[in-house]
């Protein structure tokens, strides 16, 4: 939520833009965009961000970043371009893979330039417009402020803004794409970040079986076991993993035993001891594609996650009250729950041609 500490002309202008832009979303066409073979959204089919039925209002709705086909395609190209790294080897897509719901399959932590390892699991990227802060510790307060971090991090992409801009300026195709998106060929960090956010903001995952069930659509009929699992979920998990996004995006300590990394979590950002070892509650959508789990990827399979909640909780002063006594499920409840969680996987999302790496 933007904090209005002073009202000035800039705010007036921003709100005017929001009002103007709002007309786009409410008047957006309902039919699905036509998609060509390589997934490129054509000029005839406008890129439109639609809020899924029944979902809360997103925090980010492309204010001051007018969504367009050109902007979306530029953002997609940047997202998958390894030139954003110092040695041209690592792109955003290297650690955020479309087929893994934009997490990194089979990697507890990721490796960047020079094979340097990070300390945290690459988060899946979907439904980002509903997040109010970013990264496992929430240090970033706006989606457009996110990309600078992996770009500048020496164990990730290890590049500078100056370096990237020089590379993009040397590429006539990029200059044209910036012109088509922003009106002229100027390439600066603001335009780079906004274009990337046009791509990232369009990554909406709302077509799992569970979603079709709630909408009463074909393919949404849940089995008895899945419905039992939904009840198990609502009884034991929903206070943190709130529907329909399956997270309340708060920061909590869920009792993971400390490792030698001793990651202080959100306290690193807030300097508040009350935030020690708290990490963002991740969404439970698309778990089939996003293993391994937790902020450091320590659990390969969901059985391990459930075992942790059953008998692995470590007590500490900041342990979340919701898991104070653990979560104890019978074998049947565990089986039902896992069956339900399977209904949150959204195959159309991971296979959406618009979101794949451009050829």
């Amino acid at each position: 939520m933007h904090i209005f500490t002073s009202i000035n002309r800039k705010t007036v202008r921003n709100i005017s833009l929001l009002l103007a832009a709002g007309g786009l979303f409410t008047a957006g066409c309902k039919k699905d965009p036509q998609i060509t073979d390589n997934g490129k959204v054509t000029d005839e089919t406008p890129v439109v961000f639609q809020i899924p039925q029944g979902w809360p209002t997103p925090f980010y709705q492309f204010d001051n970043n007018k969504l367009s086909n050109a902007g979306f395609e530029l953002g997609r190209k940047l997202f998958f371009d390894p030139r954003l790294s110092r040695d041209n080897s690592i792109s955003c897509g290297s650690c955020h893979q479309p087929f893994a719901a934009f997490a990194q399959l089979d990697h507890p932590v990721s490796h960047g330039v020079n094979n340097l390892l990070g300390t945290r699991n690459s988060p899946a990227l979907f439904n980002l417009n509903w997040h109010t802060s970013f990264f496992w510790d929430g240090g970033v307060n706006h989606i457009e402020a996110q990309p600078i971090n992996p770009i500048q991090n020496p164990v990730e992409m290890d590049e500078t803004l100056t370096g990237i801009i020089a590379k993009l300026n040397a590429d006539a195709n990029y200059r044209t794409q910036f012109k088509n998106t922003f009106g002229d060929e100027t390439i600066n960090s603001q335009r780079i970040f906004k274009a990337i956010c046009q791509f990232m903001g369009m990554l909406v995952s709302d077509n799992s079986k569970y979603d079709r069930y709630l909408r009463g659509e074909a393919g949404g009929a849940m089995t008895t076991q899945e419905l039992s699992g939904l009840q198990v979920f609502r009884t034991n998990c929903a206070s943190c993993h709130k529907e329909p996004l399956f997270s309340d995006f708060s920061y909590r300590n869920n009792g993971l035993p400390k490792t030698n990394v001793n990651d202080s979590g959100r306290a690193h950002v807030t300097h508040d001891v009350a935030d020690l070892y708290k990490f963002k509650v991740p969404s439970l959508r698309n778990l089939k594609y996003t293993s391994p789990y937790m902020h450091d990827g320590r659990f390969d399979v969901l059985d391990s996650v459930l075992a942790h909640y059953d008998h692995g909780i470590q007590q500490s002063p900041t342990l979340d009250p919701a898991v104070q006594n653990g979560i104890h499920l019978s074998a049947q409840e565990r089986a039902d729950l896992l069956t339900f969680l399977n209904t949150l996987n959204d195959e159309t999302f991971v296979k959406d041609p618009r979101f794949q790496e451009p050829k």
């Binding site: 009202i7 800039k10 929001l18 971090n149 600066n188 603001q190």
Partner: protein, 265 residues
């Protein structure tokens, strides 16, 4: 719902305390009949900055200075944001520069002379500004101009601008290479380092459509380290996080600006 709330906030805030000055279109008081009909039009103010250390000129590199604690030090980098510039006339009217974000850097002489345009004709008696950038700029995503993170005055890991930066060396610094590094940031809560400065001008700055007064301000970097809170480089060679230490330095440097001169051509 967010939109409705935003509109409500906007409407309720339309009545400002200050009386905004708009460019005068009134030619009735023009004494020069038939002459320049734009003589009541707006003009420009040149707001210039001279960085010093105490009474000494600031020279980056090896020049040695002494802080209030008695520690010797030199400066390699010195940069600060000036934003939300306001000029007040002798009749109390206030002009606020729109989109007012400037980064003054000792290394770059061109940044030290600001041209503030479309200033209504008048005699100005004071200038005020924020050292740093306002909260809105810290929560609004990717910015451009002087707010571009390319200038190195930005924290990616905990979104927010470095309001002022001083880097150098001191023999008293216990860290590697005797480094001193002060990145003063944080816009939230009790340790916010935003500071507003109001300076009465030593002379009226007279703005007309054809005459540009030059207001020269001094920024005394020695004030970062005292006297309100004396900084001992042996214990505090670096501040690189938001918190009480950053806020104490901001309290110190809140009084580092003074008016050197006002020149009316």
């Amino acid at each position: 719902m967010l939109l409705a709330a935003a509109i409500l906030v906007l409407l309720s805030a339309c009545h400002k305390k200050d009386d905004p000055v708009t460019p005068s279109n009134n030619n009735n008081n023009n004494n020069n009949n038939g002459n320049d009909s734009t003589s009541d039009g707006p003009g420009t103010v040149n707001l210039s900055f001279v960085n010093k250390v105490g009474n000494q000129q600031m020279i980056l590199g090896t020049t040695a200075y002494v802080n209030a604690h008695g520690d010797s030090f030199s400066i390699n980098h010195y940069k600060y944001y000036i934003s939300n510039i306001k000029l007040t006339t002798d009749s109390g009217k206030v002009f606020t520069e729109p989109n007012s974000y400037h980064l003054i850097s000792e290394e770059s002489d061109s940044t030290k002379s600001l041209l503030i345009v479309n200033v209504p004709k008048g005699n100005y008696t004071s200038v005020s500004f924020m050292i740093g950038v306002d909260s809105m700029a810290n929560v609004s995503g990717a910015q451009s101009g002087y707010l571009d993170p390319i200038y190195g005055m930005y924290w990616g890991w905990s979104t927010g601008y470095i309001m002022a930066k001083l880097e150098g060396r001191s023999p008293q610094s216990p860290v590697a290479n005797n480094v001193l590094s002060f990145h003063i940031a944080g816009y939230k809560g009790p340790n916010s380092v935003q500071r507003t400065v109001t300076l009465p001008l030593s002379d009226l700055a007279k703005v007309t459509s054809s005459k540009t007064p030059v207001i020269t301000l001094i920024s005394d970097a020695a004030k970062w380290f005292g006297p309100q809170t004396i900084i001992d480089f042996g214990f505090s060679p670096m501040v690189m996080e938001e918190g009480a230490a950053a806020s104490a330095i901001a309290d110190n440097y809140a009084s580092m600006f003074s008016v050197q001169s006002v020149h009316n051509p």
